[in-house]
Every structure is written in C-alpha cells, then in structure tokens.
C-alpha cells in the first residue's frame, strides 16, 4: 500500500523532472516576450508571447462569462428552492454529469454552432467553448461552499425583513474564499485544455486585437509546435509546457491556500 502511494507520488515527480529538464534549457527572456518569427511551425525565431497572451484572453473572458452563469444558478438552487427540491437535485446531478463530458465534445459542439452561425475560429468562439467547459466546474465547487452557509445566517438576514435577493450580498461575502478557490480551479482547467479550443480558437502567430480574430493558446502551442521537425520550434513547445506546468502549480497551491476549510470537489 505504501508502495502504491509512493508510486503515485513518484510519478508526479517524474513528470516534473521530465518537463523541467527539457523545458528549462529552452527558456529565455525572448521566449516569453516575443511572438514567433517566420511562422510557428517552421520559423526559428521568437517566442511564445502570442500563446501566453492568447491563453490569458481566453481565460479572463471565459471566467467572467462563466461566473455570470454559474453564480445565479448556484444562488437560485440554494436560496429559492427548498432543501430537498427535485429541481435542485436534478440541477446538481446534471452539472456533475456535464463535468464529466470530455472537452473534445465541447469543442465539437462549439464548432458545429460556429459553422451554423457562420463564424470563423476566433477569440469569441474560443471563449464561448471554454465557458461551456468550465461552467460545470464553477457550479460544482461554488455550490459546495454555498450549501455550507449556515441556515441561521440566512434566517438572521431574512428576519430583518430582507428579501431573498437582498441576502445574496451576505452569502457572497461569506463564501468569497470559496469562490476564489472555484475560480482558480476553473482557471487551471481552462488554461490547460487544448481539445476544446483546437477547433474553435484557431492558431496564429499574432496577438488578437478583436473578438473575431483567431488566437494561439499555450496548450495548442505545445501541441502544434511539438510536431514540427525543427529543433528550435520544438524548444518553444517544451518551454510552453514548462510555463503551463508552472502556472498550474501556482494555481493549485493558491487554491490550497484559500481552501483549507473547503476541501471537497477539487477534482
């Protein structure tokens, strides 16, 4: 049993060692501050700035949009519906299930919608797809903390004559750390997912200046550039992998820090 646990822990370290050993030599200041020169697949110059910025755009956009959906839904099922309401239970179940749907399906779905609407692959389409991907994560983990708000606190605010929509502020304040954890979790998933943006975000060397332009993201930068035969381009992929791993590690530690109290539904 100890050996099994050890094996899991060791495999984590093996992954880190592999990524760092190959990625570190490829890292340089240019890597994070320049966009690739001469095409991402063959050009030997430049770095990953396009992918870094692109990932940021996607994540910021989809988190914002995702919160716009998930907060009202969580608040509704916890505040307006009675404890054992069928609708609330069904909602929870369906987001648990949607959470398990692979990102490639979201990607394919996003793509069909895109074609249907006559859109090209773009920042907008990427944001929408990633939003679909992270809404279940946000809802699950925010629900987890909102459900634990003591009933007495709701009653206390209600008994002062507040309407239910007026006590939302109280609840949000109470669960703020939990929401931050949920967002960190969703950022981690959103920033690292390749299959959903593969169809919808496109890929480009530049940095998008509007919602309708395609863009690069870090996971796609790894995926595409790794298959290039040119060593310098491959270096970029490994550097991107290192950056991505680093980001995810930071997010995970930050999430830990914020969520000592709320430690379920993390995976």
């Amino acid at each position: 049993m100890i050996a099994a646990t050890l094996a899991i822990v060791v495999s984590l370290f093996l992954i880190f060692v592999a990524v760092v050993r190959r990625g570190l030599p490829a890292m340089s200041w240019d890597m994070v501050s320049k966009i690739p020169g001469g095409g991402f697949y063959i050009g030997k110059e430049g770095g990953l700035l396009n992918a870094i910025v692109g990932s940021l755009y996607i994540v910021i956009g989809s988190i914002t949009l995702g919160l716009c959906f998930s907060l009202p839904i969580v608040l509704y099922i916890n505040l307006y519906l009675p404890e054992k309401s069928r609708l609330a239970q069904f909602t929870r179940l369906s987001f648990d299930v949607l959470f398990g749907i692979p990102s490639i399906v979201y990607g394919a779905f996003g793509f069909t919608i895109m074609v249907y609407l006559g859109l090209r692959s773009s920042l907008l389409a990427g944001i929408l797809t990633v939003t679909m991907l992270i809404i279940p994560i946000l809802i699950r983990s925010i629900d987890e903390v909102v459900r634990r708000v003591p009933k007495e606190m709701k009653d206390a605010a209600l008994s002062l004559g507040a309407t239910r929509s007026e006590i939302i502020k109280v609840i949000l304040r109470q669960v703020a750390p939990g929401i931050i954890t949920a967002v960190l979790l969703a950022v981690g998933r959103g920033i690292g997912d390749a299959a959903s943006v593969l169809f919808t975000a496109g890929y480009t060397d530049g940095i998008p200046t509007s919602l309708s332009q395609p863009l690069a993201t870090l996971p796609l930068a790894i995926f595409f550039q790794l298959s290039s035969p040119i060593a310098e381009v491959q270096d970029r992929a490994y550097a991107a992998a290192l950056i991505l791993t680093f980001i995810v590690l930071i997010l995970s530690l930050a999430g830990r820090y914020y969520s000592r109290k709320y430690s379920k539904n993390k995976i």
Binding site: P150, D155, A156, S159, G161
Partner: protein
C-alpha cells in the same frame, strides 16, 4: 381586504381577549394580545409538529415558552415570522394574527411581517461584515442611505443593546472579532435597528456564559416596556426570573398558558405540575 372581514377579525380578537381573561388570569386586561394563534397545525413532512395551538401573546411583556426539547417550541416561534416556509415540506393550517392581521393571508408581504419581529437565534449569527455594517444592514435594506442617519441609528441601537461603550472605537472591525456574548448583543442591536414591535428569542442565552446571559436577560427586562418579547427557553429558572406570561408546551400541544405567578405557584394541569417539579425535562 373588505372592511367586513376586518371587523370580523377584530370581533374575533375581542372575543379571544374576553375568553382569555376568563381563562388565564388578568394579564390581558393590562396587555392586549399582540400575536394571536388560532387553531394552528403544522406538519413537517408527515410529522404533526404543532397540534391545534390556540394562544395569545401579550403586548409589551415577556412571554416565555417552556417545555421539553422537541415539543415544538422553536417551530411555533418560526411560524410567527414565517421563517418556517424556508425549510422543506411544511404544511401550515390555521391563523397567526399579528395586530389582527393574518400573516399567512393573501397579499401580505412577508418582509413586512419579518421587519416587525427581531429574531435572536440560539447561537449568535453575525453577518460577515463589520460591526457597523451589521447594525446598519437592516436600515439600509429598508431604504435608509444617508450616512449621518445611519451613524445615529447605529449608535442608538448599539446603546440600547448595551454594547456601544465596548465597541465604539472599533466599529470597522469584523463582527466575528467580538466575544460570543458581545455577538449576541450585536445581533440584538441589529434586530432593534429595523424598529420591530416584537422580539423573538430562540434559546437566545443557551450558548452564552453566565455573565453574558445575565446581561441579555437584563436587556430583555429593560426592553419590555417598548417591545413584546417572546422567548423560547430551555431553563425553567430563566422563565421564573423574567417571564410575565408563560406558555407550557408538550408534544406539540399547548398544555397550559398563564400569568407567571399564577403559572408557577398554582399550575392547573397535572402535566405542568410534574414538569415544574422536575419529573421530566
């Protein structure tokens, strides 16, 4: 609401006053009933929690509801400000009249009912904000925005709850930084700030240390000139100390209700006598 209905209700009220005067002693000659409960039945899922409760709560006096745990005291209290409907599968039959108005009637705004009653729960439950904002929360909801007015109100009600001197220098610090006894007084101040007419206490002192709970009791005695106070209490001694009017409940029924001195000295029912003598608790 038609006027005929209104007058009918008034009639019913007066009837009940007369009834109670015959029944339970003299308290209603001095204190008009503030809350009247008529034929109240409450079912939680399939359990019959309150069985045909008929009751009058006197105005500007302290009413203590006593009885063994699980007898429906808290449920009764929560029907008064309609917090019960928040839980699942509740069915409520019968009327609860506050100032002659049926709180379960059509077109009644539940927020107005709740505003009339301040609630003190078993454990103090400060809202996750500063001391000042806790007290100002109610007034703000009800539309008071001016900083100056809020400041005056916060000072006034913290004063009434006997907390002002202790916290005036740290109004901005979070409410959870207070001791538990202070928190309970803060909750009282918060409740008073919406200008209620009734204060409901659900074993409001059971989580507190003796000194804090003594302070709260003293506050109740001071406040009963302005408010009708209804307390669910777990200790007989507390009821003996502060009650003007006592309601004894057992297994969802009101066994006996009456003036405190009458109730404790000359209980009418056998069950009451046994409870007071400590045969069960």
């Amino acid at each position: 609401m038609t006027s005929s209905l209104q007058s009918e209700k008034m009639q019913a009220n007066e009837d009940s006053v007369i009834l109670n005067e015959l029944d339970a002693g003299s308290i209603f000659s001095k204190h008009k009933p503030h809350i009247s409960v008529r034929n109240l039945n409450v079912y939680l899922t399939k359990n019959h929690i309150l069985k045909n409760v008929n009751l009058d709560i006197p105005d500007k006096a302290i009413t203590c509801i006593i009885g063994p745990s699980g007898c429906g005291k808290t449920t009764l209290l929560k029907t008064f400000n309609r917090l019960l409907q928040n839980s699942m599968d509740v069915r409520i039959d019968g009327d609860v009249l506050v100032d002659g108005e049926n709180i379960h009637g059509k077109g009644v705004e539940v927020e107005n009912i709740r505003k009339k009653m301040g609630l003190l729960s078993q454990r103090p439950c400060p809202l996750p904000m500063s001391i000042f904002d806790n007290v100002a929360y109610g007034p703000r909801i009800h539309g008071i925005r001016r900083k100056k007015t809020l400041k005056i109100m916060v000072e006034k009600y913290l004063g009434e709850a006997g907390l002002w001197d202790e916290v005036k220098d740290r109004l901005k610090s979070p409410a959870t930084s207070l001791s538990i006894g202070q928190q309970q007084r803060l909750c009282l101040a918060r409740g008073l700030a919406v200008k209620p007419e009734i204060i409901l206490g659900d074993e409001a002192t059971s989580a507190l240390d003796p000194i804090s709970s003594k302070k709260i009791e003293e506050l109740f005695l001071k406040l009963k000139d302005q408010y009708s106070i209804v307390l669910v209490t777990h200790t007989l001694r507390q009821a003996k100390r502060i009650a003007d009017y006592v309601v004894f409940m057992y297994l969802g029924e009101v066994i006996e209700a009456g003036h405190a001195s009458e109730f404790f000295n000359h209980p009418k029912e056998k069950l009451t006598k046994e409870y007071l003598d400590g045969y069960f608790s």
